[in-house]
Structures are given as C-alpha cells and as structure tokens.
C-alpha cells in the first residue's frame, strides 16, 4: 500500500460543524435534499432524522415507520412545494414519506404567507398542494414539526433487508435493492393516492445487492453487489434487463455513483490558467468527443479497499470490433461495453464503504472502515506535442479506440480519524448553506456519517 499522505495535498478538509443532536446509534447514510438546505440521516435506531444545513440543528425525527434499522434514504427530485422521501430498512420494506415545504421560523413564514391565510397544517394538504409557493429557506429552528411527516405508503416485496434506494432523474421510477439479490423498479404513479406499480424485478446478481444509482439523465441504473460485480440495467421494449456486467473488484462493491452531468464543461471554472490551457489542448483533441460518446462514467468502491472509475466504450468503437466483441450487431443492440478507466491511488487500509462524485467540481471523496476521508482530483496530463502527433497517425493503429483522455487522478486531501475511532459509513457532497459561506459563489460541503451515530460537515478548500 502506498503512503497514506498524498505527495502534494492541495486541499484542506476543515470541520465545519456536526449535526446536533446526533443519533446515539450507528448512522448509515445521509441524503442531502436536492433543493432545500436540509439533509435526511438514516439510523440504526429505526428513525430518520432531518437536519438543517443552515444551522446544523435537528428539525424533525421520523419514527414509527420501520421495524428495524433504517439503512438508506433518497429524496424524489422535481417535486415542488413538497418533499418526498423514500427510505429502505432492514425490515425488508421501503417507505415513502411526504411533507410540505415549510421549514421556516414563524415570523418569516408569516411574512411569506402574508397574503394567504392558509397555513399548512396537513389537514387539507391535497387541495393546497398545487398552489403552495416555493419558499426560500435560510433559517429555521422550529422543532415542533415532527408530526408533519406523513407516511404515504410502504413498498413491500423484498424478502430481506433493503440496502439502497434511488430515484430516477425524472423522479418517475424508484429502484430498491436487497440482500435477497434482487433489484426492484417501482413506478410512482403520482395519482394522488400514493400508488406505486412494480415495473421490474431483476435477479441476475449472485449476492446481496448493496447499492443502486441512476444515470444523471437517462433511465439507466447501475448496481453494486456482494458478488463483487457492478451491473448496468436498461429498459428495452418494456423489459428491464442487464446491459453490462463490470468485473474487476476483488470484494463486495459497497458503493456506486454516476459522474454528474455538470462536470466536464465547468472544470476550469476557478480560473487557474494552467488548467484552462491544458483544457484547451485537451478539447482540441478528440477527448471531448470521446467523453461525449462514452457518456458519464461510473465510480465504485469496494471491500477490496479500492476506488475505481469505469468508462463505457463508445458504440462506434464497438462496431469496429474493439475489445473482445465480434463486430456483429447483436439482437438486443443494448449491450454496453464498459472497461475500467482508472483505479484511484490507493489510500484506504480497510473496506471503502462510500464514494461521492461532485457534479460541481468533479472532485471525488471516499470514506471507509479505516476512518479516513480521502479527496481525489482528476488532472489533465499535458502531453501536447506528443499527443498531436499520435492523433494524426491514428489510422495506423487498428482497432484502437479514440485516444483515451489524458487524465490522472491525484489524492489532494486525506483526513485520518475523521470521526475519531469510528468507521465512516457514508459520504455525500451538498451545497453549502450556512451563514459562514461565501455568498458570491456556490460552495460545497462534505457530509460524513459514522458508526457512533455522529454526522459531520466539512469544507474542502485550497
């Protein structure tokens, strides 16, 4: 194993706050809200806690829904005026919870709602749902809202513990996965009656399915498993099926994530001239085209202590017969060919439980049983002249895919013992919303959760 300290750490991880009061039992995961400065945490004490990201205080606790540990949670995207949370538990069920967006101090709420006397009390919510204004939230300390989370429906179908839940980018589909080796896809019928329909049950994995994540734009799902594989799933004429199986990890795949859509074009945004220059060269080459053809990459982490990035081979390359596939168009036409693009520099000494890929900065963060937080940055490798030459001579090299992006991953920050002696179960990037932020630009925070129940918020800066 290489040294734990990066050669040139260029970022610092600073403790910003903890979320208080914490759960006193293991916290498995946090889910930052897509719109609001709040975060949901999943605890072994069978509760889901909602905290503010502006003052880091507990807003409400959802209890009574799950009979065992809450393992996972995800916010439904594109819902206006209301927040919809899906949760998954060791009790083998997934729950759907709803709450009107009114986390505001009484005075501020009164101001905003001055023109309308209707106050969300949950009694008439269906009628007012469509007309609720989208509110700007910057401050709240109201802890009396606990009862306002409405239990909507329990999704029952898995035979054993639900490990992960994820909403498709449109919010139409919910994927759940379990120790029973299956992945279920449910369609939210959005019929006002909280009806969900089972769209598909995929059972190809040979072990617990530990994690699921959706493509940022398409209805394409990726899963990681106890069988050490990563699988990619798509719908073909009403049938969901496996389109790729990625092998390489030497242990349980604990986490998967797709590359965010925003990243790539904005990589040079912080005005570093050097980087911009390299970017320009890079763009002039085939790289951007290559990336565009490949689509978002997949990030994974494993019990084998590694963090890896996977890339889909562009379809054109397939047709030319690159890789091991014969150049015959297969009946389904949906099979995808993925290959490992990079194994990130090894830092973790134990299982890596979670990875997060920032769509704003392109930074990757990983955490695991060794208590470390590691941040990696992708850097463009300047090989201009050489690269240009080979560019021209490409046709000589048969069956060679378009030149691979000239990038390398560098460890830019390592924090040992981020939660003291405790293992870290999850890491997530979220938009910074506290008063200490620089309001002139969008900043990001890291949120980590640990075995002692603690949830910590960090800034990552230069």
């Amino acid at each position: 194993m290489t040294p734990a300290q990066p050669a040139q750490p260029t970022y610092q991880i600073h403790a910003l706050s903890t979320l208080d009061p914490p759960s006193l039992e293991r916290t498995w995961q946090t889910a930052p809200h897509p719109r609001l400065p709040i975060v949901a945490t999943c605890s072994s004490d069978k509760t889901i806690r909602i905290y503010s990201l502006t003052n880091f205080r507990l807003l409400s606790t959802i209890t009574g829904g799950h009979k065992r540990s809450v393992r996972t949670a995800a916010w439904k995207p594109h819902v206006e005026g209301e927040s919809v949370l899906a949760t998954g538990s060791f009790d083998a069920t997934a729950g759907i919870w709803r709450r009107w967006d009114n986390y505001l101090p009484t005075s501020q709420a009164a101001e905003l709602l001055a023109n309308t006397d209707e106050v969300a009390e949950g009694s008439n919510e269906a009628a007012t749902a469509a007309h609720r204004p989208t509110q700007t939230l910057d401050h709240e300390d109201d802890e009396e809202d606990e009862e306002e989370w409405r239990f909507a429906v329990l999704l029952d179908g898995h035979d054993s513990e639900v490990k992960s839940v994820a909403w498709s980018p449109s919010g139409m589909l919910l994927a759940t996965c379990s120790r029973d080796k299956s992945i279920w896809i449910w369609e939210d019928l959005d019929d006002g009656d909280n009806n969900f329909e089972t769209v598909a049950v995929m059972q190809e994995h040979e072990g617990d399915v530990k994690c699921v994540a959706w493509h940022p734009r398409e209805e394409c799902l990726v899963s990681g498993s106890y069988d050490d594989t990563i699988r990619v799933w798509r719908e073909d004429l009403d049938d969901w099926g496996q389109v790729a199986c990625l092998r390489g990890h030497g242990g349980t795949v604990w986490g998967v994530a797709f590359e965010g859509v925003a990243h790539g074009s904005g990589a040079g945004e912080d005005g570093e001239e050097e980087k911009v220059a390299v970017m320009r060269v890079w763009k002039e080459q085939e790289q951007v085209q290559f990336r565009a053809l490949s689509g978002p990459r997949i990030l994974s982490c494993s019990d084998d202590r590694s963090v890896r990035v996977w890339r889909r081979l562009p379809k054109e390359v397939d047709a030319r017969g690159a890789g091991n596939m014969p150049s015959i168009i297969r009946p389904t036409g949906l099979d995808e060919h993925w290959e490992e693009e990079a194994t990130l520099p090894p830092v973790h000494d134990l299982a890596v439980y979670s990875v997060a890929w920032s769509s704003r900065t392109g930074l990757i963060a990983s955490v695991g049983a060794d208590g470390r937080i590691v941040v990696y940055e992708e850097r463009f490798v300047a090989k201009d002249a050489q690269a240009m030459e080979t560019d021209a001579s490409l046709p000589d090299e048969q069956q060679r895919p378009p030149k691979q992006p000239l990038t390398e991953w560098v460890v830019v920050a390592v924090l040992v013992g981020a939660h003291g002696i405790y293992e870290i179960n999850h890491v997530a990037w979220a938009k910074r919303a506290d008063r200490g932020r620089d309001t002139t630009k969008e900043e990001e925070i890291l949120i980590t959760t640990a075995d002692d129940g603690s949830v910590k918020v960090w800034t990552v800066g230069k």
Binding site: A4, Y226, L350, Y422
Partner: protein
C-alpha cells in the same frame, strides 16, 4: 451431574469425555457449568495447558511478547471467547479447541499511522468438523461477544482457519460483512441462538 458446578473433576471428566454424544438432557446444564473450569481440566492443547490455569496473569505465556504495552492482550481475548458455548454441545469453544490462543492476534489497524489507537483483533476459528454448518453461527457468536466486550477502538476480524472448513471463504466473507452482521443482530431467531451461546460467558 449437578455437582459439576462444584468443580468435581471426575464428573466433569465424564461430561467432557463425550462431547459429541451429549443428549438434549445434558444441554440444560450447560449454563450452570463454569466453563473456565471445564477448560482448565481439559485443555484443548498443550499450549492452552500452559496458560489456562493462570487466567489473567498471562506473564508466563511466553508466546505473548507485547503484553506490557497493551492493556488488552491475546490472553484476554481468549478469556472472552473461550467460554462461549458451542451451539450444538454444552461445551465451551475453548474446550473444543474451536478457538485457541495461538490463533488470536492483536495488531495495529493502521500501521502507517503510528498515533492511531485502532487495533484489529484477528481470531481464527477451527470448526470441529469440516462441514459444520454452524461455522457461521459460531463465528458470529465470537464477533458479537468481542464487539460487545471490547472498546470501540478494536476492529474484530473473525475468520475460519484455512483448510479447516469446506466453505471457509464464503463464511469469512459473511462474517466480515458489517452490514450483514448488523442485520443479523436484529434477527430475533438468530440472536436467540447467539444469546444462548453467550450465556456461559461470565
């Protein structure tokens, strides 16, 4: 048989003599036996014979070299888990040689971080027969016992000793899976079995 509680050697000898033939009738007495006593009379190996009677004063266990540094040493780990009962027989894992002192190791979890207080306790267990379907349950019992007894800075790594079990790899993966272990702890039936095994601990 009830006199076994009083450390009557011959009685215990008889019980221990027939570990695999004990009927259900004998099971009920398991909880009342002082397992430490059992093991002290029937040490599973020559090595254990040396260290068992001395109990916590492990200074004469010549194989352990760094006992002065660590407040919790291999001997203490052994004492914690050797008294666990086998799920099938009312015999301790120590007496059955399922766990043994040479198969316990305590090492720094992060050797590259000298200031780290994290320690990994590795326990290799040797199931009594190679196809013992209860290997997972035994391993889980050992892991639960250690996780409940040790301070949180200890990481517990329980594995089946190489070559001793036909599906060792499968069992090891399961025992190392934090999520599965956590879920197992919430499984009433399984925890009932584990609780019974741990009844004989202290």
């Amino acid at each position: 048989m009830a006199s076994a509680v009083q450390n009557s050697n011959p009685t215990i000898l008889n019980v221990a003599d027939l570990p695999t033939r004990l009927g259900p009738a004998a099971l009920s007495k398991a909880g009342t036996d002082r397992v430490g006593t059992l093991a002290s009379i029937f040490p599973p190996s020559a090595y254990s014979l040396d260290c068992w009677p001395t109990g916590y004063s492990s200074s004469d266990a010549s194989d352990e070299e760094d006992v002065t540094e660590e407040p919790i040493d291999e001997q203490e780990i052994y004492d914690l888990i050797s008294s666990i009962s086998d799920p099938e027989h009312p015999i301790s894992l120590g007496a059955l040689a399922v766990v043994s002192l040479p198969d316990i190791a305590i090492k720094p979890t992060l050797p590259e971080v000298p200031e780290s207080v994290l320690r990994t306790v590795s326990v290799l267990i040797t199931p009594t027969i190679t196809h013992c379907s209860l290997a997972t349950v035994i391993g889980l019992g050992v892991r639960v016992r250690l996780e409940q007894s040790l301070p949180p800075r200890f990481r517990v790594d329980v594995r089946i000793k190489e070559g001793s079990h036909s599906t060792a790899e499968e069992v090891n993966k399961q025992l190392a899976d934090k999520e599965r272990v956590a879920a197992a702890l919430e499984n009433g039936t399984l925890m009932g079995v584990i609780a019974k095994m741990l009844e004989t601990c202290q």
